[in-house]
Subunit: 349 residues, 2 copies
């Protein structure tokens, strides 16, 4: 507290605790479990412990090919996870911390995240996002998601993540205290969205990686409510390191992220990327499905030339903070890709 530094001419205003109460009123955070939230279009499901939210893919959540971007998908996963905690009546403050966690100065830290996308919803499509939690080892929590078509039930994407608790003052990882376990464990269920026998380990890249982007700095607008660089920004940095010509003609089919440390607004970040050279696509042919806008792309020398090449379909990634002597890992990643089956013949006006 630096109250002595305050200018005594400054208007007298509500202290932070009152401000906090006022904001909680505006946010309308429930103190008891809710079953339905008509505004968020959310519903408690799976015998009272899961959460399902209906979402329409918005015009700005899709990319040039009119399908939801990975960034939008990741944002929606975060949003539904927080809304699940919101509905549970357990939301204390901040990013999904329960009342017990707030009492114990604990916050959630994500250690691993995996998304598998078979296909992506399009602009205007109605989807259902299911999310639920389970135990992960003795002191972790697993959170899973399914993104389904509202009409057909077709599963667009599956995701799973692992979380541990950290003391926000000491920054040390923490066991789950008994009062917190009592809050959250009734919500745990065993179903998994992605079946993995042995999670694939991601190797650490070094400076000999084939692709590298350096000197990346977070913008003010990349910081989330916790003043940390947003998870989605990490993924953007990773994917921007893959050559443009590849990205044009391919869609991400899976991504795994292993988090090592936080990145703050003053860090200078380097993104490394290495293709698996033995993962080159079998079909190097030209893709008919790109539709009749292809003519334009040929003229611009992008799409067609790109799709004539053959590309590896698996990539390893590393984001690190480049220090003078040593670098510090932020996150390791692994992506797999497939050819885009279609680019919509949407007027390029």
């Amino acid at each position: 507290m630096a109250s002595s530094a305050f200018n005594s001419d400054a208007p007298v205003l509500a202290p932070p605790t009152i401000q906090l109460e006022r904001d909680r009123t505006r946010q309308n955070i429930p103190t008891k479990k809710q079953i339905v939230d008509p505004f968020r279009q959310g519903l408690i499901t799976q015998g009272g412990v899961g959460y399902t939210q209906t979402v329409v893919i918005r015009s700005y959540e899709v990319g040039a090919d009119k399908t939801a971007t990975l960034e939008s998908i990741l944002n929606l996963l975060q949003e539904t996870a927080l809304n699940h905690v919101w509905m549970s009546g357990l939301l204390g403050d901040g990013f999904g911390a329960t009342h017990g966690m707030v009492r114990n100065n604990l916050i959630w830290v994500v250690s691993r995240m995996q998304v598998q996308a078979e296909s992506y919803p399009i602009w205007g499509e109605v989807v259902e996002i299911d999310t639920w939690v389970g135990a992960s080892g003795k002191n972790g929590m697993r959170r899973d998601w399914l993104i389904r078509s509202h009409v057909t039930g077709h599963v667009f994407a599956r995701a799973t993540s692992t979380w541990v608790m950290m003391n926000k003052h000491t920054r040390h990882l923490s066991k789950i205290p008994e009062d917190v376990r009592a809050e959250i464990s009734p919500w745990f269920i065993g179903n998994v969205a992605i079946k993995e026998d042995v999670p694939e380990k991601i190797i650490k890249l070094n400076d000999s990686a084939k692709y590298m982007n350096s000197n990346m700095k977070p913008n003010r607008s990349d910081l989330d409510m916790n003043h940390h660089v947003n998870n989605v920004k990490y993924v953007k940095w990773m994917l921007e390191t893959i050559p443009e010509q590849f990205l044009e003609g391919h869609q991400l089919s899976s991504i795994t992220l292993e988090y090592r440390r936080e990145c703050s607004s003053s860090d200078i970040v380097q993104s490394l990327c290495e293709p698996d050279e033995d993962s080159v696509e079998k079909d190097g042919g030209i893709n008919l499905l790109r539709g009749f806008n292809m003519a334009t792309e040929i003229c611009e020398g992008s799409g067609l030339l790109g799709s004539l090449d053959t590309w590896p379909l698996k990539y390893t990634h590393l984001l690190q903070i480049k220090g003078d002597n040593k670098s510090e890992e932020i996150v390791r990643g692994r992506t797999t890709w497939k050819k885009k089956l279609s680019i919509l013949p949407f007027s390029t006006t």
Copy 2:
């Protein structure tokens, strides 16, 4: 069409028109006027011609201070405008073009946009966004918006925009054809969200501007469905040119944008910014309301030092494509700002 270039080994697939129909089914675009859309939480209002949508501010739509970012606001304006056209039964294809516009090869082009924000909704807050259209001169359309608190009706922000039609092949502006006028004019009403007697003209900056960012390039992810650089990206480029220390302690209270030409993915953009030196804030005092996190910020030498300075509160902006001989204007802008009244005492973990 470049069909002769297609590889005959490529799998035979649905031609673009069938693909388009399939997508329209997934999008479920109505062919008749709808009154209620339960998924988008939209409702036709104002005697059958306006549109109101209920929206909960999502966790990733807010910045570090927990209030909705200007980018999110602009995204929501676009979204509700398109949903209004969706509900009208007039949506043909693309970005809000009506059936008549599609027949006439016409697209909408925005010429001016103005947003006034008194305050910003916070994470989890339920807002209502009203939008409606009106005539603008003989061949233009005005679209207005109000963003209100669902609980109190308090107006957070007002916005207005002007649109004209362009032939997508010739790229020339067009009069409104009679069949298109017949479609859209029944939706016109006279109410205005922002009363302006004479719209302020924005002067053109030159290279002597105080702040300048050069060599800005759109990323693949900045392109919208029309393969153009998204409007929101323009605003980001403009605002990033204002010094960080100013942005930390101030919130945007109004922005006006005058669009001159489109920007494509290959353009290299320069952002110029000039403060009105006579618009320096009256109260240079330290802001008590920043709350008790201020101690940290003092240590980091950011917030406090920033708020001790006095800053101009009005800025003129220009985005241009820097050519060798001459530069081409993309958009002129004008922003006004006020001191942030509070930064929520949200745990910085």
